[in-house]
């Protein structure tokens, strides 16, 4: 068959990448132009949102939250929140029974936050602990959520506590967050305490129900409670909102005009 006839390589067909004539040394390989180290650091966005972020068309991550746009690339979060700190809550080994014995993998729970209104939670399972942690950090970055903080009493200085009583549930674990006066600190078990510290909540009372020893459920319940702070309709939000344009539409009209001018 023809595939044996070519003296090129063992490949029967070369397709793209196999050059003929002057094209041969032109298209193949990339000895030139490769930065090497450089490539690893620059981020080539894949989604439209990523491209908008890279072009600096979006000023803050709040614009993305406002329109509930799905964030698929963790570099977007890195770009807006460079000072995120991560915390490994737990590394749990899980086993699966196979014919050849037991297969053990490690599940890592990572909480990430900037102590100023953004938290994320990531869970990842992998054969190695380091891989699980790395994967969980990326997933945590992708799940970063804004946290609404409010006041307990007088509206003075910066918000320091949750705006109202919120609760979150996962499995049988229920966590309830209650506003606290300034100076109380976070009155909670170590697991939700970590999460609330990373969220930037300074004072909070908590109540936990259900099986809080199941750390996975417990931390997810607290994360859900923190997320609910922005879902709660408080009286100050009663006034009608003026809808702004989504980042995907914002610049259309603006850009249409200068183009006309340039055509002359």
């Amino acid at each position: 068959m023809a595939d044996a006839a070519t003296a090129d390589t063992q490949r029967g067909r070369g397709g793209f990448g196999r050059g003929r004539g002057r094209g041969g040394d032109r298209g193949r390989g990339r000895g030139r132009g490769r930065g090497g180290k450089d490539e690893k650091e620059t981020w080539t966005p894949v989604t439209k949102l990523g491209r908008l972020v890279k072009d600096r068309k979006i000023q803050s991550i709040e614009q993305i939250y406002l329109f509930s746009l799905p964030i698929k690339e963790y570099q977007i979060v890195d770009y807006f929140l460079p000072s995120l700190k991560d915390e490994v809550m737990k590394i749990m080994p899980v086993q699966k029974q196979t014919r050849a014995g037991q297969r053990t993998r490690f599940k890592a729970f990572v909480v990430i936050g900037d102590s100023n209104g953004h938290v994320g939670l990531g869970v990842k399972c992998s054969k190695e602990v380091a891989t699980a942690i790395r994967g969980a950090i990326i997933l945590a970055k992708l799940s970063v959520i804004p946290v609404r903080r409010g006041y307990w009493g007088s509206i003075l200085n910066e918000p320091h506590t949750v705006p109202c009583k919120v609760t979150g549930k996962c499995g049988s674990a229920v966590t309830r967050l209650v506003p606290a006066p300034r100076g109380t600190g976070i009155v909670a078990a170590p697991v939700p305490k970590k999460l609330l510290q990373l969220a930037g909540v300074t004072d909070c009372y908590t109540q936990a129900f259900g099986s809080t020893r199941t750390l996975g459920n417990f931390v997810k319940a607290t994360f859900a409670a923190i997320g609910n702070t922005y879902s709660y309709l408080t009286p100050d939000l009663w006034s009608e909102t003026q809808f702004t344009m989504s980042p995907y539409q914002q610049y259309t009209d603006f850009l249409a005009k200068p183009q006309e001018k340039r055509r002359a």
Binding site: D3, A5, T6, A7, D8, Q10, G12, R13, G14, F16, G17, R20, G21, R22, G23, D25, R26, G27, R28, G29, R30, G31, R32, G33, E39, T42, V46, R51, P70, K72, K90, P93, K96, T104, R105, F106, K107, K124, C125, S126, V129, L139, T167, G168, C170, G171, V174, P190, K194, S211, T214, L215, G216, K220, A224, S231, Y232, L255, R262, R263
Partner: protein, 497 residues
């Protein structure tokens, strides 16, 4: 085997042997070293004007119009992918055209990408056949010259397809339609230059619409466009020799015009074409096992907690991270409060007996994560070419989501020979970064990936120079990464005490 030492090292040679996928990267055309891209280079490129493999028969805009807006499509890329199996596919190029208007894509993505295949045998009336019998030498850089007797069709100055009409004033520039003529008249400076200069042939006019490879505009040695081949007289070689002398004078004068009118040349170029770049190929070197292990990471339901042997590993890792954090804290001035206190870390590692029924599923877009993991090795790849071997099984494309995966029935078989179409290559969304489109516009071009399927047998039909192939577009899913079974939503109220 011919080895081009100056371009590929041993690693890449080995990878080429076993590679399953060839990756394409977009690189600017290196004008100093290799000169402009010409038809006899048989290269792959994106943007600019299409370089026709068969210079006598070129595509007509009738065949290459968007299904939605009925305007001629813009040339996106061409891939030179020769095959050995049918002798007529010795030279083989796949052309991809797309509609530049993103609104058409939103309405119906499938009609806005068109793919055609063009092939030529080794002995054809346009290029010299290989001079030596040894194919290795042919691979080096010998032998491919355009034949003097090859005829060239007139091509439209704006889009590069068949251009039967000419400018009514100077009768020198060809167009495919009245719209492109008016575009060239206004945005392409033809209004100012028609008839006023020494006869502006497409060769010299190409100096005007300079692709943005060179930053400096008064580069008198620029000869990038291939249009010198498609001269009306059919006199290819003469033009080439004359061109160098002409370009030096013309560029400067037209440069003055531009300065007077204050027009950005690059804007003129991009009005209807994408920026011209070359597509360089490289084999994908990756560790199959590591990848597969990574893919199997998602939690399965029947896992239970283990208790032996892992504590040391986890504790050691924890210690390492703590040390690193402490070092960083010291570097930063020491005041940054590390939240990793000793007690909390100990608590995190203590195994608890009854955690068998943990709810640890996360709602992730696993197909997208797989996709991301695979491209993370080479983040700036724009193309994945998968038809490397005469394999029995068809290679699988890298999907970007679970939705929109084409089933076997979605891909029509080749209309000419009836054989099935198999996956050949896919265009990745990173290419959109290189097209110079404005992403913030509501109707900007956007896709997840474009999968191109082509006839398995590379059938050849006499007289039919461009055979249509199939492009399937897949978009990203709208899922975010959070949610799942966490109740983030309206407040669940608990009675207060």
């Amino acid at each position: 085997m011919a080895d081009n030492d100056n371009h590929m090292d041993q690693d890449q040679e080995n990878a080429l042997e076993e590679a399953q996928v060839m990756l394409g990267f977009a690189e600017p055309v290196d004008l100093e070293e290799h000169g402009p891209l010409l038809a006899e280079d048989f290269c792959s490129k994106m943007g600019g004007l299409p370089i026709w493999l068969n210079p006598e028969h070129v595509l007509d805009t009738k065949d290459m119009s968007c299904d939605q807006c009925h305007k001629p499509m813009t040339f996106l890329l061409q891939l030179y992918s020769p095959e050995d199996h049918p002798a007529e596919a010795f030279h083989r190029v796949i052309y991809v055209f797309c509609c530049k208007n993103g609104a058409c894509h939103k309405k119906s993505p499938q009609g806005c990408f068109k793919v055609v295949r063009s092939q030529l045998g080794q002995y054809n009336p346009y290029y010299t056949p290989v001079s030596k019998d040894d194919e290795d030498a042919a691979e080096e850089n010998e032998g491919w010259e355009p034949l003097e007797t090859s005829k060239h069709a007139k091509t439209c100055f704006v889009c590069g397809m068949y251009g039967p009409k000419v400018c009514s004033r100077c009768h020198k520039v060809s167009y495919c339609s009245a719209e492109h003529q008016s575009i060239h008249w206004t945005k392409g400076l033809h209004k100012q230059l028609c008839g006023t200069q020494p006869p502006p042939s497409p060769a010299n006019l190409s100096e005007l619409s300079i692709s943005d490879n060179k930053e400096s505009k008064d580069e008198s040695e620029e000869e990038e466009e291939e249009e010198e081949e498609y001269d009306e007289d059919g006199n290819v070689i003469e033009k080439k020799k004359k061109k160098k002398a002409l370009t030096q004078t013309l560029t400067k004068e037209q440069q003055d015009y531009a300065n007077k009118l204050d027009i950005d040349y690059r804007l003129v170029e991009r009005m209807n074409r994408f920026p011209e770049l070359e597509i360089i190929s490289e084999a994908e070197i990756f560790d199959q096992e590591a990848l597969e292990e990574g893919l199997a990471d998602e939690s399965s339901g029947d896992e239970q907690e283990a208790e032996e042997g892992w504590e040391e590993k986890a504790a050691a890792l924890k210690l390492k991270r703590e040390k690193k954090a402490a070092l960083l804290a010291k570097k930063n001035g020491g005041v940054s409060k590390s939240l990793e206190t000793a007690e909390s870390s100990m608590n995190a590692l203590v195994p608890v007996g009854d955690e068998v029924y943990e709810n640890t599923k996360t709602d992730i877009d696993s197909a997208f994560l797989t996709f991301q993991k695979r491209i993370a090795l080479y983040p700036d790849q724009v193309l994945r070419y998968a038809r490397m071997e005469y394999e029995l099984t068809n290679p699988e494309p890298l999907y970007v989501s679970d939705i929109g995966i084409p089933k076997a029935g979605d891909i029509p078989p080749c209309p000419d020979c009836g054989q099935e179409r198999t996956f050949e290559f896919q265009i990745l969304p990173q290419m959109l970064n290189y097209l110079g489109i404005d992403h913030s516009a509501a109707d900007a071009l956007d896709f997840g990936t474009v999968l191109v399927y082509s006839c398995k047998e590379n059938c050849h039909v006499e007289g039919k120079h461009y055979q249509p192939e199939v492009a399937i577009i897949q978009h990203f899913s709208e899922d975010g990464m959070q949610g799942g079974n966490m109740t983030i939503g309206p407040n669940v109220s608990v009675s207060s005490k």
